[in-house]
């Protein structure tokens, strides 16, 4: 099966000389749920943004659905981007607009001319957005301003917006880093079920190791911009973890005892 996404020796050097990615290569197939883990500054966000060219790369190739992303410009780049949904740590909604309007933003990439500029969405799109909102348990909030929602609800709107794009691939940059444990679980469960049902491949940046172990079909470990681990979660042993984070597993858990660890897994 042709992979959805292929990284070929991708490198990124920022103008200030920081090498955020070095010689990164991997493939993503349909139905995969991949967690990218690594310490802060290891290049997780850069890797994710290289996929839809929010950050231009400085070496190698990113091939999305058979097209090289770095060669695309203007209309073609928009066509590539609309097939990749993205979810952000800070939700990145337009808070002065309604929840429904934010969800419908997912259709902008498909709209041309004045209809897109003035937000004249089709009735079909609106119906679909409402159905998605009720699937997320947000049907009562569709006309509220996005700023009125709680963090977990905002993130659900973010997911709905991404799903509206009918993406082949979903990118999530620390989707639960600003949320409390119970909302985090809701969001991770939603991501899992939404992508599974629709056959969307999903790449999630996480800094919670336990969450990554619980949900992923595959884990990619980044350290200083290089892939140091790529495989099934079961294969991620303590020595690997130490190589990725540069510290032992115990030091990664707040509290550190066995009991606490079980707790964090349960409510994460």
């Amino acid at each position: 099966m042709e992979p959805i996404l292929r990284f070929e020796h991708v490198a990124k050097e920022y103008p200030n000389g920081v090498h955020a990615l070095r010689d990164v290569s991997f493939e993503v197939k349909e139905g995969e749920f991949i967690s990218v883990i690594g310490p802060s500054g290891s290049g997780k966000s850069t890797l994710l943004r290289a996929i839809n060219r929010l950050i231009p790369i400085s070496g190698g190739r990113v091939i999305l659905d058979g097209r090289s992303v770095s060669d695309q410009k203007g209309r073609n780049l928009r066509a590539v981007r609309r097939e990749v949904g993205m979810i952000f740590q800070n939700y990145n909604l337009v808070y002065s607009l309604s929840v429904l309007q934010n969800v419908l933003h997912g259709r902008l990439g498909y709209m041309k001319g004045l209809r897109g500029i003035f937000g004249r969405y089709s009735e079909n799109d609106k119906k679909e957005a409402l159905a998605l909102l009720s699937e997320m348990g947000l049907e009562d909030f569709c006309c509220n301003r996005a700023s009125d929602l709680s963090g977990g609800q905002k993130q659900r709107v973010g997911i709905a917006r991404a799903i509206m794009q009918k993406p082949k691939l979903l990118l999530c940059d620390e989707p639960i880093a600003s949320l409390d444990p119970s909302s985090s679980k809701t969001i991770m469960d939603l991501l899992w079920s939404m992508t599974k049902r629709r056959g969307i491949a999903c790449i999630v940046n996480l800094h919670q190791l336990d969450v990554a172990l619980k949900y992923s079909t595959r884990i990619i470990g980044l350290s200083k911009g290089e892939i140091v681990f790529d495989g099934a979660p079961e294969r991620l042993d303590d020595t690997m973890i130490e190589e990725i984070y540069g510290t032992s597993r115990e030091n990664l858990m707040i509290g550190g005892t066995e009991d606490d660890k079980a707790d964090t897994v349960n409510c994460a």
Partner: protein, 266 residues
């Protein structure tokens, strides 16, 4: 000798002392250069006082048939400030879109746009008025253009900063969705920055009400010109009532815009 315990760091103390000495020296140097003498103020105090009490006070009304003219000139000044600011805000919005590296589709030009705005802004409206009426002649047209240029430049800077503060995140998410630049403007930047833009706009109206009076005096029309004509013909008592009228106008506008701004930012 016992050492005193210092209350502030020694170099800070030196800095303050330095400033004080520099300020005194500057005052002396400037006084000598401009032949300013505090004593003349005191010596001429009587004449000054006489001028105020004899010529200015009490305020007098202009001739009855001139009153409608004066009032309409106040309206002209208000209209001048409002229209110049409004037109400038619309232009400033479009230009500001290209003045922020993070929003503009041509980030390399952003510095140029901001530099241009800063340059225009640092020339006061009064100077623009002088430059302009040698080419456009005396009239409200000059006042309009002079106010337009300065408030346009000011609002470009203010709008760019508002956009950088507010719409960073949502612009990124709409980019990821595949939205085009005009779509990002209407769907993300405009809704999230509108209240900020309006607040700056109202502030600019406030500033321009004052500025349009002054620009009017040098030939921009409106109540400024009326006031100046009374001063030139030594009818200071009538001038005083016009000054009071202007003050009332400014205070009323200040209060109204201040209230509106508070409402908007809520």
């Amino acid at each position: 000798m016992t050492k005193r315990i210092p209350l502030i760091a020694r170099d800070l103390k030196r800095l303050y002392t330095g400033f004080l000495i520099a300020a005194v020296l500057l005052f002396i140097v400037c006084s000598v250069l401009t032949n300013f003498n505090v004593m003349t103020l005191i010596a001429n105090g009587d004449a000054f006082w006489e001028f105020i009490t004899e010529d200015f006070l009490p305020p007098a009304l202009p001739k009855a048939d001139r009153i409608p003219g004066v009032l309409s000139s106040v309206l002209v000044t208000l209209a001048l400030a409002m229209s110049a600011t409004t037109v400038a805000a619309v232009f400033a919005f479009f230009v500001a879109l290209f003045g922020s590296e993070r929003v503009s589709p041509f980030p390399r030009l952003a510095k140029l746009v901001r530099g241009f705005a800063t340059f225009l802004r640092n020339i006061p409206a009064l100077v623009w008025a002088f430059i302009l009426f040698s080419s456009l002649g005396i009239g409200t047209g000059v006042g309009f253009v002079a106010l337009f240029i300065t408030s346009f430049a000011f609002m470009v800077r203010a709008f760019v900063e508002t956009m950088e503060d507010v719409s960073q995140d949502c612009v990124e998410s709409l980019q990821a969705v595949g939205a085009s630049f005009p779509q990002r403007v209407t769907q993300a930047i405009l809704p999230s920055c509108l209240s900020g833009f309006l607040s700056w706009f109202l502030y600019c109206v406030e500033v321009n009400i004052r500025a349009s009076t002054i620009v009017g005096m040098v030939g921009g029309g409106g109540v400024g010109l009326t006031l100046f004509s009374y001063i030139k013909s030594f009818q200071y008592d009538i001038a005083l009532s016009i000054i009071l009228l202007v003050a009332v106008m400014v205070i009323v506008v200040d209060r109204v815009t201040g209230k509106l701004r508070k409402e908007i930012l809520k």
